[in-house]
Amino acid sequence: MIKNLSKLSRLKITDDKDIESIIAYVGKLNSVNTDGVEPLSHVHGSKNIWREDIVSPSSSAEILEGAPDKSGTFVRTPLVIDG
């Protein structure tokens, strides 16, 4: 199972006994009756917050500065689509 999760999360872990004991520990949540309890995803109950779609300037040169490999104004990666 960890092998599959590792693939999903782009990691290379194949074994970690601690992960199993942590999953077992959080399993204690299932001992609680939560019928009818609304899940809490935001502490103050905020919903979507919209703003006007206004374009403001930003420096692509500064942002590109951090890229490990670039070509002109582009970030370079290995081949993405084969063939």
């Binding site: 590792s6 949540l29 942002i63």
Partner: protein, 472 residues
């Protein structure tokens, strides 16, 4: 407030020298000596012209989780070890606007995942009270910077106790404000529904000043909230009802912590407060709920570290291997562990059993707090960490044991409340212990009031680690 007859230049030079001299504590990852000295000169000029802003020219340490334009920001991870941000976090911008001087970036657990500061790519932070002991974490470097008087102030972040716990273990004041009070824009994301920026200082009054400086609604963080500034701190707690949650005083609590915190509570009573026994019945589930919600959010937030746009890259023939090699080489073991757990609890077929369930339990935990605030008390007092600082290496190989150190701070993050740690005494080995105040949402004012009143009557926050002098 902080300044006597000393120039900002002198203060900044002294801070830089002291940080250098105490490099064995490993509290800093990066120093900003040139920029800091330049800013200090400017501050001195402004002061000479009559500028009296309280933070003008005051050196402040910033956790390396918080972006600083042009200054390396690593989150104590190898994967960001070469990252230089093109912009300032809102809190940094606000500090600069207030005239404060960013002196350097402090060490921490990688991506704020840890309770001892041993999970840093740059090595552990040492506790100035005993350098064989941990500083606590994840904001260990910031706590130590203030405890060893390297700087008078520091910024940290608190997702499950990462400010309050090291504050307690190092003998300084630490505040985690209400979720939403402070902007998270430009703060490396760990668990976005729990993360909050906060502060360290010697006294509650200084903490209040710094917290107010960085607070407020920010157009770049839609979860930030428009709040009224606190203003003057009120002294005196006569008639205030302080709730004492029985679930926080169990046999898991070290007897010395129990006795020092109980002494602090007696002190608050003798100052006129009424102690009210309360119950927060779902406390026992907080740790489990946290270790579903935080890793779930982390697994998603940390997906961005892929070796493409910034950070380190491990070259590979194909894209998948480039991602996997980069992440394998760039993340430490605790970070990988939490990403895997988060991926597991969010994966199809398990979502309802873990993530949804944890969010429901989170609701129950928040309701516990809201109920007692509605019916029984104005503020809650409790321990911070169940035990004082422990030996380096003692818990690092047993994650669950390490997680237990946050068992009394995590519920506050899950409920989004403000929390503060205040020094309240020492063990027989002269290790500091703090007690925790927990407030209603956005009621930092009462925390300041209780904390400042307590500190007027006690001197624990003025005690210094061996060999340390207070030059501020």
């Amino acid at each position: 407030m902080v300044k006597k007859d000393i120039s900002s230049r002198e203060l900044t030079e002294k801070a830089l020298k002291d940080i250098e001299k105490n490099s064995n504590l490993n509290a800093f990852i990066t120093l900003c000596a040139d920029d800091a000295l330049k800013a200090a000169n400017e501050a001195d000029n402004l002061r000479a012209k009559g500028d009296t802003r309280p933070l003008l020219g005051v050196p402040i340490a910033v956790k390396d989780m918080i972006l600083t334009k042009g200054v390396k920001t690593t989150a104590a991870s190898k994967i960001l070890s070469n990252y230089i941000p093109p912009y300032d976090a809102t809190v940094v911008r606000k500090l600069k606007t207030a005239g404060a001087i960013i002196i350097g970036k402090t060490n921490m657990d990688e991506f704020a995942m840890g309770s001892s500061n041993e999970h840093s790519f740059f090595g552990p932070v040492k506790n100035p009270w005993d350098t064989k002991l941990v500083s606590g974490g994840s904001s260990g470097g910031s706590a130590v910077s203030v405890a060893a008087r390297l700087t008078p102030f520091a910024l940290g972040t608190d997702t499950g106790g990462s400010i309050r716990q090291p504050a307690s273990l190092c003998g300084v004041v630490g505040i985690k404000p209400t979720y939403g009070r402070v902007s998270r824009y430009g703060v490396v994301a760990y668990a976005s529904s729990l993360d909050q920026v906060g502060v360290f200082a010697r006294s509650v009054e200084e903490c209040a000043l710094l917290t107010e400086t960085i607070s407020g609604k920010d157009e770049f963080d839609s979860t930030s909230v428009d709040i009224t500034p606190v203003g003057e701190i009120k002294f005196g707690i006569k008639g205030l009802r302080i709730g004492i949650p029985k679930e926080y005083f169990t046999e898991a609590l070290d007897p010395i912590v129990n006795s020092l915190v109980s002494e602090a509570l007696n002190n608050l009573r003798s100052l006129g407060a009424t102690l009210v026994p309360i119950s927060l019945p779902h406390t026992d589930l907080a740790l489990a709920a946290y270790y579903v919600i935080a890793p779930a959010e982390a697994s998603s937030n940390l997906a961005r570290y892929d070796g493409i746009r910034y950070g380190i890259r491990e070259e590979a023939e194909d894209l998948f291997s480039l991602y996997a090699n980069t992440r394998e080489a760039g993340f430490g073991s605790e970070v990988k562990r939490r990403i895997i757990i988060g991926t597991y609890v969010l994966s199809s077929g398990y979502y309802d059993a873990y993530y949804k369930k944890a969010q429901q339990v989170r609701r129950l935990i928040q309701n516990d707090f809201l109920d007692v605030f509605k019916n029984s008390c104005d503020v809650i007092a409790a321990p911070v960490s169940p035990f004082p600082a422990w030996k380096l290496g003692e818990k690092v190989s047993d994650p669950l044991k390490m997680y237990l150190s946050d068992i009394l701070t995590i519920p506050v993050n899950l409920a989004g409340l403000p929390g503060m740690s205040i020094p309240c005494g020492f063990t027989s080995d002269r290790l500091p212990v703090g007690f925790q105040l927990i407030g209603k949402p956005f009621d930092e004012k009462t925390l300041y009031q209780v904390g400042a009143t307590y500190q007027k009557e006690t001197n624990f926050h003025k005690e210094l680690p061996p060999g340390v002098e207070d030059g501020f």
